[in-house]
């Protein structure tokens, strides 16, 4: 519960012929994570199944392209086949998907072609607008003349100036007729005898000659009617193509679903990655499985494989521990808190799993900062009313709501009203100093606990020196508590007993010595670093604790905001009063609620996690039969 699930290293030796089936069984089992780093065992130099892997990846790529083009994923059969496909079957599947994609690719090309034709017609229509004021036969522009060379067409707008300068070198001129969507419609004119030098530069300028159709040899109004007809025809053909694609997709959906199911069955083998090695006809897979699932794994493989299989397992060795993946098993209501923990990082295998600590302290601090029976009840009820959008956060919201309600009872606060129910403890504004003292003590407890967790984690890593002497270790805790005790005696008694004063001094000296020894650099740089880090340690001890005063400050702030709302409401008449009270409470609930969540997360991550939680562990990623994996 407070540590990642105990893992066992599992080594599976089997025949290479059974590998694909083993992949399927392990992915279905769902609790085996292949080792990520390569082993480089010279006795097993081969990477078996290269052809299988290449065929799978190719088939997967085609399936992704097809589904991407159709814009929908096929739903695979609920039952993935019990047998992983053989290489030959996979090749046939890949060939089938390749053929299907080539057909769809042709459809995509046709679709693009129609879209381009439509753009061209639209462009011609726009172009025609430029000529609409001309009461003339447009064919005049197409006629070939003996000395004068005229050419109409379009170019990207940014090429205008450069093209104009370039063709002026051979005596040509460029006249702009119209512009639209970055395209310029131009007429180029010059001497026919120099036309041969013109063509190469026009191609470089992405010039699209405008071949005015035969119908353009008429009055602009008549040309416009013909263009509309042409547009209609293209639209009809385009719609027909879309219908064909839709029909085809419907007809083939079963086949694609079967293909997806087949690929899922083959996907287990692909997930082995570096964990798979082999030689001759034998193969070996290394990975990690939770200790309590090992027997289940053995049973699944022994029953599901036709050939012999040898399964060895053992707890992780000391040197392996940094590489062991961490699996966190928690009840479902704690899962949203796990996600927030993972936002910061994954615990190392040897570290304390901070989820419980996080969940309890988060709820406690939220309640203290946002204590109100009415607001808490609304937060508690929100996920019950808005089930769909808030489903994944329901446990956090309900927990925070309950905590807020509990503190609301302690403070005697309901929707900001301080007189409706008696306070079981104190109304916050009645004694702000006491509130700040409680928050201070909470901070001391929080930081002391995180220091203890740090010491435990360092000891678990085998880093005894850091556990004892580092600023986050026993010496750091001694310095912190020693400083607090010194401050306490100074304030209460006006003097500090020598024994108490010696504690922080000795602790600081130990920390400085440790830092000096652990830092490798020139003496001057070393001294500078040690002094700065020592000063930082001292400052952190004080500032981090003061940081927790915000727990009380927000509790007071909550009441103060409510007072402000009531002051505004009291200036209104009856209806205005209640509207202001409701809107004001909503404002407090949403805005202050959000700020409190951010502040609590800040305290958790910065003051808590950054002390004892490295968060650079490896997440346990077991092999799975997942449709999502196919589309990654």
């Amino acid at each position: 519960m407070f540590r990642p699930v105990p893992m066992h290293h599992v080594r599976i030796a089997l025949l290479q012929d059974d590998l694909t089936q083993a992949g399927l069984l392990l992915a279905r089992f769902g609790w085996f994570a292949p080792r990520q780093e390569s082993n480089n065992d010279e006795r097993l130099p081969d990477q078996p199944g290269e052809a299988y892997r290449a065929t799978f990846l190719s088939a997967q790529s085609y399936l992704q392209k097809i589904t991407g083009f159709l814009g929908q994923r096929p739903q695979p059969d609920p039952d993935v086949p019990d047998q992983a496909p053989l290489l030959q079957t996979l090749r046939e599947l890949e060939q089938g998907l390749r053929d299907t994609w080539q057909e769809y690719s042709a459809c995509a090309e046709s679709s693009r072609h129609y879209a381009e034709q439509l753009r061209e017609v639209q462009h011609l229509k726009d172009l025609l607008d430029s000529y609409r004021h001309l009461d003339m036969d447009l064919g005049m522009l197409r006629r070939k003349l003996r000395f004068l060379h005229l050419q109409t067409g379009t170019i990207p707008q940014e090429n205008r100036n450069r093209l104009r300068q370039a063709i002026s070198m051979i005596g040509y001129s460029l006249t702009e007729v119209s512009r639209r969507e970055g395209k310029l419609h131009i007429i180029i004119a010059g001497l026919e005898e120099r036309a041969n030098k013109l063509q190469t530069v026009l191609k470089a300028a992405d010039f699209h000659p405008l071949e005015l159709p035969e119908a353009f040899a008429d009055h602009p109004d008549k040309v416009a009617r013909q263009l509309r007809k042409r547009e209609q025809r293209i639209l009809q053909e385009q719609q027909q193509l879309q219908r064909d694609i839709a029909q085809r997709a419907a007809k083939e959906s079963n086949r694609l679903a079967q293909a997806a199911a087949m690929l899922m069955a083959a996907s287990g083998f692909i997930q082995f990655g570096n964990a798979l090695q082999g030689r001759g006809g034998l193969a070996r897979i290394d990975g990690w499985t939770p200790e309590h699932r090992v027997e289940e794994l053995k049973k699944a493989l022994r029953h599901g494989l036709s050939g012999p299989v040898v399964i060895e397992h053992r707890p992780p060795r000391k040197e392996e521990k940094p590489r062991v993946p961490s699996a966190m098993e928690h009840p479902s209501w704690l899962q949203p808190f796990t996600r927030l923990v993972k936002n910061f990082g994954t615990p190392r295998y040897t570290e304390i799993d901070p989820t419980w600590f996080f969940a309890l302290s988060f709820l406690a601090m939220f309640g203290m900062m946002f204590g109100d029976l009415g607001h808490g009840a609304l937060i508690f009820l929100a996920p019950l009313v808005l089930r769909k959008p808030l489903a994944s956060f329901a446990p956090i919201l309900m927990g925070a709501g309950l905590s807020s309600m509990l503190f609301g009872l302690l403070y005697g606060s309901v929707f900001g009203y301080e007189h409706l129910i008696p306070a079981l403890w104190i109304p916050p504004l009645s004694d702000p100093v006491l509130m700040l003292q409680v928050a201070f003590l909470w901070g001391v407890g929080f930081i002391s606990l995180t220091s203890l967790l740090t010491i435990r984690n360092r000891l678990a890593e085998g880093n005894v020196a850091a556990a004892l002497l580092d600023s986050q270790g026993m010496a750091g805790l001694g310095l912190y508590l020693g400083l607090l005790a010194t401050g306490f005696f100074w304030l209460r008694q006006g003097g500090v007993p020598d024994a108490v004063a010696a504690v922080p001094a000795v602790a600081l000296a130990l920390i400085l010595i440790y830092k000096w020894r652990s830092h490798q650099a020139a003496a001057g740089e070393r001294l500078l670093v040690v002094l700065i880090e020592g000063f930082e340690t001292l400052m952190n001890s004080i500032s981090n604790t003061l940081s927790f005063l915000r727990v009380a400050a927000f509790g007071l702030n909550h009441v103060a905001l409510a007072i402000a709302v009531f002051a505004l409401a009291n200036m209104m008449d009856s209806a205005g009063h209640w509207i202001t009270v409701v809107l004001g409470n909503l404002f407090i609930l949403l805005l202050e609620g959000a700020i409190v969540v951010i502040q609590v997360l800040r305290l958790e991550y910065y003051e808590g996690f950054s002390r004892f939680f490295r968060g650079d562990g490896r997440t346990f990623r077991p092999m799975r039969l997942s449709l999502d994996n196919l589309y990654e």
Binding site: I167, K197, V201, A204, D206
Partner: protein
Amino acid sequence: MSRRTAAYAYLDTRVSLLAEQLLHRPQRSQLLELPYPEIAALLRRAGLGGLARELPSDPARLEQLLADTLVDEAVILMRAMNAAEQRFVRHWMRRLELINLKFLLRTRFSPGKQPRPELLDLGSLTSLPLQTLLDTDSVEEFLRQLASTEYGQLAGPARKAYEEQRALFDVEATLDAHYYTQLVHLGAKLDGVHREQTESLLRVWLDQVNLMSLLRFRLVYGLSAPHSYFLLAPGGRRLPLALLRQLAQLDSLAEIISRLPPDISMVLKADAGIGDVELQMQHLTRVQARKVLDQARFNMARAFAYLYLREQQIQLIHTVLKGHMLGFSPDLIRFCGDPLAAAGEAG
């Protein structure tokens, strides 16, 4: 301390630290002269300690390692820049991506099944979805995918070239021209003094790009004057577009050299070839980059100048190391990597 000094102190320090890696003239000569086991110290000085210990298994890996170095340093410098400066440097580094794109275009447009190209991985500066483009089955599919990338404006001209079964020359030249125009555009968006200094180097570099393009288009590929002129980048410092238009109408190298500004033409001999012109232009660009790096202070142009000079030296190191990997003779390695010395550059 002025606002600019404060804002650029970190970048300035970073550039100064990185500039320590630049090899000086005698060191570059040694790099070309010495056998591989003896250049380890120089490679370490150039910040390439990994290559001093062992050469990669193949030339492609070497190229990737050196590209990684360039990209990593650019990313480090970009972190200390504002958004407009980051966009400029990112675009500058995209020249490496153009190599990928041209390689992909050529592979895709070549008839028959082509081997999978070895592309440079630009890490966080990558914008092309290389895997998606590599996974395409046909030229049409490739162009459809290309249309949805940042280089989408190329898909149209490329499709036209493919449909007309023309060479990709115009497409590649258009890609380059578009790149240069965009770079100048981004340079113009920098703030005051940063813009002035950056443009002072950029325009000198564009002189080099334009003159070499013009000579190749006109004299090597035999393009017409308007066609050659159209494909040039925006005008530079010594060679504005008006002068380039005049040069494009000339038909021989001697005529073109005689019309170049004196500081370019005077150092060229009467029988100079295109290679000599290129060396002289590279020399002028490096001198300007050195000047900016040494004299500018608290200015992003220093970072730009460093990246330019660093890239030049990485290219030299690449040439030398590849020569050693392929077992070239010392003379051949010196010949391939000697343009720096051949230009008679100091410093």
